[in-house]
Symmetry: C2
Subunit: 302 residues, 2 copies
Amino acid sequence: MTFDLASYLKERQILTNNYLSMILHCFDQKRELIMAMEHSLLSGGKRLRPILSLAAAEACKENSERIALPACCAIEMIHTYSLIHDDLPAMDNDDLRRGLPTCHKKFSEATAILAGDALLTHAFYILSQPETIFEVYPDSSIRMQLISKISQAAGVMGMVEGQMLDMQSPNFKSGGNLAYLKNMHSLKTGKMITVSIESGALSVGADPDTISRLTVFGDKIGLAFQVVDDILNVEGDPTRMGKSAGSDLLNEKMTFPSLMGMAASKKFAKDLRTEAIESLSLFNEKGIPLRAIADYVINRDH
Amino acid sequence: MTFDLASYLKERQILTNNYLSMILHCFDQKRELIMAMEHSLLSGGKRLRPILSLAAAEACKENSERIALPACCAIEMIHTYSLIHDDLPAMDNDDLRRGLPTCHKKFSEATAILAGDALLTHAFYILSQPETIFEVYPDSSIRMQLISKISQAAGVMGMVEGQMLDMQSPNFKSGGNLAYLKNMHSLKTGKMITVSIESGALSVGADPDTISRLTVFGDKIGLAFQVVDDILNVEGDPTRMGKSAGSDLLNEKMTFPSLMGMAASKKFAKDLRTEAIESLSLFNEKGIPLRAIADYVINRDH
């Protein structure tokens, strides 16, 4: 029986979307703040982080994905807040996100700032609840570890600092270097991807050795994801990407191709994929979905 | 022996400031993000919330204020993030805060947004840590309750929604009403003041009845604080206030004096003070500091 990745992804997107909807539907839908949160949270993202989290949970314990949902949803709320704030005029000044107006375009800049703040805060509320809309949830000591690890990946030791480094990054002609680039990506996106996987495993009570193997897998595919992003920005088909290629070069942005060259970047992505797959060797057939997701991340064309 | 409020406040400000410094001094002081967080966090606020939290802890258990420090510091970090975001051009567009340039004026708008995000996230990190820079800390089940209560007071059910209501508030001539005003203040500042007091009591393991009395105290003085703010905006001495009086009237802002009249507002503040003090009746002499703080909040002239 071959593994049907498309159905696998679809099912977990639906599961995540349903629970994210329920989280927001606890509140009055006519409130402007709730509408702004919903606009960004339920606008049909890929749900890569929740899918990785659920797949990690299932790799550690069969049919146990539901217990990983609170952390999944919290992580997706944090990811969404970061997109809302990154899109603001003072940051990337983007008008469109996932084909829709960005939060500050649809509402206002002030509302977008507050919607981001509210999503971030509510993520920790969800993680702290022993009884919520979720049918099952990890016990209190596991939830405390989740809060510790997720806050670490999201804040001053992770994503927020990564965004600072991105804003301050030198261009590839003057001062750009591979160590800076790798560190920036590790902080900006890598740590949240790794903590997604770690949270899935933690939620089902996986042992430390299993978790550390999954952490290696997360670090490798998180970085591979960025390398492929940079490659697609040069070689991607604009009609598939939904945006024009070549913008990085135009902006003299420090990227893997600009620093390493295209051939070496492609080899780097392939090597990271091999290392990621190797870290899953102990999972046997339970690792099939994670392996398929790794291939999907690296072979995607948009 | 009379109670020396000035020394009491000063000692607890120093205790709070020392621990807030230690939290930030775990990081490289040359990082722009850390400098921006420090600029706003260590710029000498009144530390009303931490002081209330420490006083509540001491009212429940003698010489136990140190165990209340993790929550104290987390709450002050959240309060500071809210000031940084409120000061942004898209919100109140303020250039000065506590006599210093606001975070976005001193650094940049993008850095200010990120410094706020980082302070909010790190507050939950601090609350989740079993071992930190703190000498003592509440046990895990209490820390989980703190995270739940503080995230509730700060987010979509509290402060962030209060800020939305403030932005959307009708002026006092058209549509302003007392229910809206009270609800807005309860959400915007009341819930964080109440949770400060609750957190102090929770941290030292106070029983539910004691906590609920302190919650009443918090609700009353939180509201009284706002009523007095509104009164001072009309009658305050600009040299003591550090800002010109009368701005609310000029902006047709909905306030207690504009809706109730000045005499009724003063009576309202006095009644709230009486009710606050009554809620402390069981604390005897252990309630002296909290009573003195209530009087200070209501009788202040700036």
